[in-house]
Amino acid sequence: MTAPRGRVGGGVDVAGRGAHSGIAGVLASGWVVGLAPAVLAIGGGLLLGGLLVSLLGVSPLEFYSVLAKGTVGSAFGWGQVLFRATPLVFTGLSVAFAFQARLFNIGAEGQMLLGGLVLAWVGAWTGLPGAPFGVLLALLAAAAMGGVWGAIPGLLKAKTGSHEVIVTILLNFVAFALVNYLLTRGLALPETVRTAEIQEGARLARLTEWVPVFRGAPVNAALFLACAAAVLLQLWLRLSPHGLSLQLLGEGPGAARYAGLSVGRLTVLAMTGAGALAGLGGASFVLGYKYYFEEGFTGGAGFLGIAVALLARNRPLWVVPSALFFGALSYGGFVVNRLVPRELLDVLQAVILLLFILFDQRLGRKRT
């Protein structure tokens, strides 16, 4: 069978309902088989994590109870996890979007960084209209900035064939240097590494304003924007001719060319869209939390977006729970900091990803 992987589960599902009942039927149904690698990887990762923790002389029980209490065990923890997940949704979508055309966007970090700077720059503009137009304007500008930064590797790939992985990685460094240059040459306030505060009209509301239990947690309305982006992207990929063309390109340039599509144009489209999505990654921090750009605010969300997309198998709707999971893990590293070195949670993330790839390949091969 050569059907694209994402739709194989559905085929099995139809068969499952028709014939077998009982455990075999349930196991063979698309949902369970689809989720099984993720569940097994997370379970296995957490077990291995317990082992590592006990090697450090800390009781795994205490470790996991502190981890759970600090992250999902309180409203404050939830507020932190949701805040952490918000940029991951954007960068996860960015990577997933490019991957529809089998392009790897390793540049989400730089795109998000530049987008964040533009958010702060436009947001601080004194002529900015009030909400909601101020927010909208800032978001559009950031998406445009990220889009331009993503379009560069797209264009280079289309025109010269240079590999987008190399170009996006290198453009990250250009973005780091550019942002720091602009910060040190006037955008940053004296003796700080942050910009001036943005106008009222560009700010996104904190969730505490509607849900008081989140008091003190930075989660804000950017979360809804992120979820909306995931839903819209899923619909767009399903329904729009461009979305379908992208996926056709993902099947191979030959297939796309045979169908009469312009491979070059689709490549640029995929990378521009990916850049625009990552460019919005800063909305949560800049428009909804600190109200300014700060050096290093991305916290590696651009790179973690790759993992988020991987665990979500590049499907936009699944990016949301995947981002939530990685958000919990990365905030968890901070929570358990008093017990174990926080790098342990980074190890845990890596183990879970490796197990996921392993299980996914084993089960995936059996499925097709």
């Binding site: 063979a28 780091f176 720091n180 700080t192 916290g299 900091n337």
Partner: protein
């Protein structure tokens, strides 16, 4: 038409067999983890009971980089260790990695049992102010706090600043008195105002004792990476040595490790920064410009414990013992009694305000 059942049977059987394989791996992992859990449960258990019930509690949040940087954060940690030893306080800490974690850590401490909450580094300036306003009954301190004119510092916050330029002035003078070529070098980390303070003081101190000499200035870059790039540090140091510099002062975090390597290779001298860096290149460290973060942390904890805590900005220069240079048996071979006397005279002049050291 194809009967769906004929397709399903082999498929599901294979799925089941591969699942059972994974299940076996998982069970094995579970067994290992459980075993490890039992082992560690037997060993652990005493850590909780050690805490004193009514001790004065300090919660400290480190700067980016966390513990083990051999410099800024470690100095703050030393201050806490000394406070635990001498004052009997208890402390806990967080090492935040990301922008939102600074505030989260301060909040968790403030909402918990901590009596004093300390943020180490200028990045905490806004976060400390914000959280302190919400927890007026708790005391807060921020090391290297930045503030603009007109900023209101809440009464329960003390912002501690150092006059790095004054300490740099003295090591600049030492460099000017010790150099044989008349040319010395400076290697900065990130090209920002904070590091310009080191450069300006160093240059002024050098020129005060050696008006005909030359100071070479180089920065490692404009990104945060400039503070952790030893390769670049060595390159810059070698370039300055090739231009005739025989003493190099660095203010560049771990980039300075490259500077030390360069002076070892070429048999020149280097001046360390923040902490006494003698151990990094024994025999090649002329002195170090030290920033007494540990003393500041200790003093703040003591004041808060004794009830003499006062809010506001405290600026620690030479007079207050906030900055200094290292003089001991390791470097008396270069810093002769005459040089020592001359430098100490400069110290007095600065402390009494007769010399105004430029900060930029």
């Amino acid at each position: 038409m194809l009967d769906p059942t004929t397709r399903l049977a082999p498929d599901s059987a294979r799925v089941r067999s591969s699942l059972s394989g994974i299940l076996r791996i998982s069970l094995l992992l579970a067994a290992i983890a459980l075993l490890a859990g039992f082992l560690s449960a037997c060993g652990g258990g005493e850590s909780e009971s050690k805490k004193k019930v009514d001790a004065f509690r300090v919660g400290l949040v480190f700067d980016i980089g966390g513990l083990g940087d051999k410099s800024f954060n470690d100095a703050a940690h030393r201050g806490l260790l000394k406070a635990r030893e001498d004052l009997g306080i208890e402390f806990e800490y967080y090492e935040p990695a990301e922008g939102s974690e600074r505030e989260a850590a301060l909040r968790i401490f403030a909402a918990g049992e901590a009596d004093l909450v300390v943020g180490v580094g200028f990045l905490f300036s806004d976060d400390v102010k914000k959280v302190a306003e919400e927890f007026p009954e708790k005391k807060f301190a921020c090391i290297d706090m930045t503030y603009q004119d007109g900023d209101v510092i809440p009464p329960n916050v003390v912002g501690i600043k150092f006059r790095e330029e004054q300490g740099s002035y003295l090591v600049g003078a030492i460099a000017g008195l010790v150099t044989q070529t008349g040319t010395v070098g400076f290697v900065g980390g990130m090209d920002i105002p904070l590091i310009h303070k080191f450069e300006a003081g160093y240059r002024a101190g050098f020129e005060a004792v050696r008006p005909d000499g030359k100071v070479l200035i180089r920065y490692a870059g404009v990104t945060g990476d400039a503070f952790q790039n030893p390769t670049k540090g060595k390159e810059l140091a070698l370039a300055e040595i090739d231009q005739g510099a025989d003493i190099l002062f660095h203010a560049s975090g771990s980039t300075g490790l490259g500077v030390f390597e360069a002076v070892r290779d070429r048999d020149k001298l280097a001046i360390g920064v923040d902490s006494d860096q003698q151990a990094e290149a024994p025999g090649h460290i002329l002195t170090s410009m030290t920033k007494q973060v540990d003393v500041a942390v200790f003093d703040t904890a003591k004041a808060a414990k004794d009830g003499t805590f006062q809010g506001g900005i405290r600026i620690l220069g030479l007079k207050e013992g906030g900055v200094d240079y290292v003089y001991d048996e390791n470097n008396s071979q270069w810093i002769t009694p005459e040089i020592r006397e001359r430098v100490e005279a400069l110290r007095t002049e600065i402390a009494e305000g007769r010399i105004e050291v430029p900060a930029s």
